[in-house]
């Protein structure tokens, strides 16, 4: 995946560049709007991460000019929690937005969604190592043993299984599993993950759910 990051704040630009590169993406960084627009028009990117507040040319202007030429997916970053601001961005042709401060895992998840071409076909059978998930029958078998899960535990496992190797943030999990789209002050997600682990990981040698400290959880056959 080819990503352009347009961000004037030096620290933010650096960590976005490093973080995304470490995940194996090819990343270009533009330090202001003019350069960002120039690069965006020169090179075909898969997705553009665009900061709104920038000197010389702000993100809105970059987006306006970009949309005349290309329809590269754009995710904009804003520090303002205004509904008007968000609507403006989406009206100008942005595809998604994140409000600062945001979690890095959240950004990565959104970028993946934006670059996924076409609706992904819902798989009916999932197989991860010795774990088998029958999505339709909601049946989970690990190493030949049938595991009984509650509805929410199944939803959580399904979310993990369909996002293998990705770090999922707590807020993303809360939003996908319970439809709670806000950061609550509780550790509901941690508790739910712990209970799921109790059933699908603890009795077995190979652990599938890994905590990523400070970020969230990762479902992976690799430790």
């Amino acid at each position: 995946m080819n990503i352009l990051v347009v961000e004037d704040e030096p620290k933010a630009g650096n960590y976005l560049l490093n973080g995304l590169q470490e995940l194996g993406y090819s990343v270009s960084l533009a330090r202001d709007g003019v350069d960002g627009l120039h690069q965006a028009l020169e090179t075909p990117f898969d997705v553009i991460v665009l900061d709104v507040m920038m000197p010389k040319m702000d993100g809105w202007e970059v987006l306006r000019r970009l949309r005349k030429e290309a329809d590269t997916p754009v995710l904009f970053l804003t520090a303002r929690d205004d509904i008007a601001d968000r609507i403006k961005g989406l009206e100008l042709g942005a595809d998604d937005y994140l409000i600062k401060p945001f979690s890095f895992a959240e950004l990565v998840a959104r970028l993946r969604t934006l670059t996924r071409r076409g609706p992904s076909r819902e798989e009916e059978q999932l197989q991860i190592a010795d774990l088998q998930i029958d999505v339709l029958k909601r049946r989970v078998i690990r190493a030949g043993t049938r595991i009984t899960l509650t509805n929410k535990e199944f939803a959580l496992l399904h979310l993990f299984a369909t996002h293998q190797d990705q770090v999922l943030s707590r807020s993303l999990i809360a939003s996908r599993v319970w439809d709670m789209n806000f950061d609550s002050d509780t550790n509901v997600v941690d508790v739910a993950v712990r209970r799921l682990r109790l059933k699908i990981d603890d009795p077995f040698q190979l652990k599938l759910i890994h905590s990523v400290r400070g970020i969230g959880y990762r479902f992976d056959t690799q430790p």
Partner: protein
Amino acid sequence: MSNRRHYSLTLRLALIFALLAFALLATLGVALYRELERELIKRDDAALIYRADQLRNLLNDSNTLDLIKTKPELFQNMLGNSESVLSIAAPGQKPLLLVNPGNIEMPAVSPVPKDHALGFADVHHLPGINGVPFATIAASIDSGDLGSLQVTTGRLMTERTAMLASYRLSVFFLASIAAVILAVVSYLLVHRGLVPLRRLAAHTQGIGVGNLAERLDSHGTPKELLPMIDSFNTMLERLAKGFVQLGQVSTDMAHELRTPINNLLGETQVALQQQRSVESYQQLLASNVEELERLARMLDNMLFLARTDPASALRQRQELSAADEVERIADYFEGLASDVDMRIQAEGEGVIWAEPMLLRRALANLCANAIKYGAPRSELVIQAIPNAEGIHLRVSNHGETIAAEHLLRLFERFYRVDESRERSAQSNGLGLSIVATIMQLHNGRYSVSSEAGVTCFELFFPRRED
């Protein structure tokens, strides 16, 4: 605001007074004029009747008739002015005597019979010449040898007309002067009467953030301004209170930020004191992330509370199934509750008219508290009870009874029942104030009761208006 011009109250009142004065005086003048006119006509008519009567008596005497024939000039002098007319004639003949110095055209008038006394009704009023009215009376007399004669006398009312005209002019003139005087006087009076208002305006201008405690002085102001002054002072009261609260919230927030920032700073500085293993650096960073997330959440909550745009929340309201919503919340907290051996019992029916995210946030905040403060191995009850006006949502738990003095203040920002115990990473003291804000956004109500070990929070969402 539109560009509509503001009218002057003073000018408007002055004009109204002037118009009223003019109208009243003119009406009075016209009424008096009519009375005067009637009196004058009556007097003139009486004079005519008197003259005709006299002539009648006089002419009954044959000597007088002779006198007319021989010395008509005597009669001419008798009338005395050019506006009077007198004719004595036998019917259908040339008049025996005609005094008409003004050459006024004499209309034919039917005479009053001999045996009839003359009255006002017998006077004929005619339009006369050039609009000047002409009054005339005719009477028959028996003059013996000359047979029946007709005496006609009349008068052109020039004098009366002129007098009335000048009277009319005076009335108009006086009414106008009175109107002008009243306009000026009322302008000055109203201007003077509004002095307290200008004083209030000047005083109000002087009230700013620095002296919100100041109040408008109602001393010496008219009674009519008192309600305005009172409500303005009440408004100042509220503003001052709000301002103090706002200041308090900012202070509280700054203090609240100190804890996570202190942790971040201290932990990081200690970690940098000497070389450490990768493991401990990772631990530090993870701990930093926790603190930062806490800061971010607090920021998020503060912004949520500061957002004062009820319209957008209200626009996004939906009819939500109460059963689904309480079920969802119960599902969400199931794990957390069973960690402390609490059971969640969710039940309810009906429809909640609310913005889904805000509703869930409010319920989640209540449930998080209920689990945090609920007694282990007790039951957390979430209920939805619909009625005609809307729906009540109840979250109740068993636990320590909250003292009445705390109950009222629970919904205040950063208010904590027990300062030392509850300042933890999981609580930032804003949860219930967010619930309160959400309920206010929905024009709903919220309340809390705590009795005999059961604490119950109740939210009321009004039903959708048709």
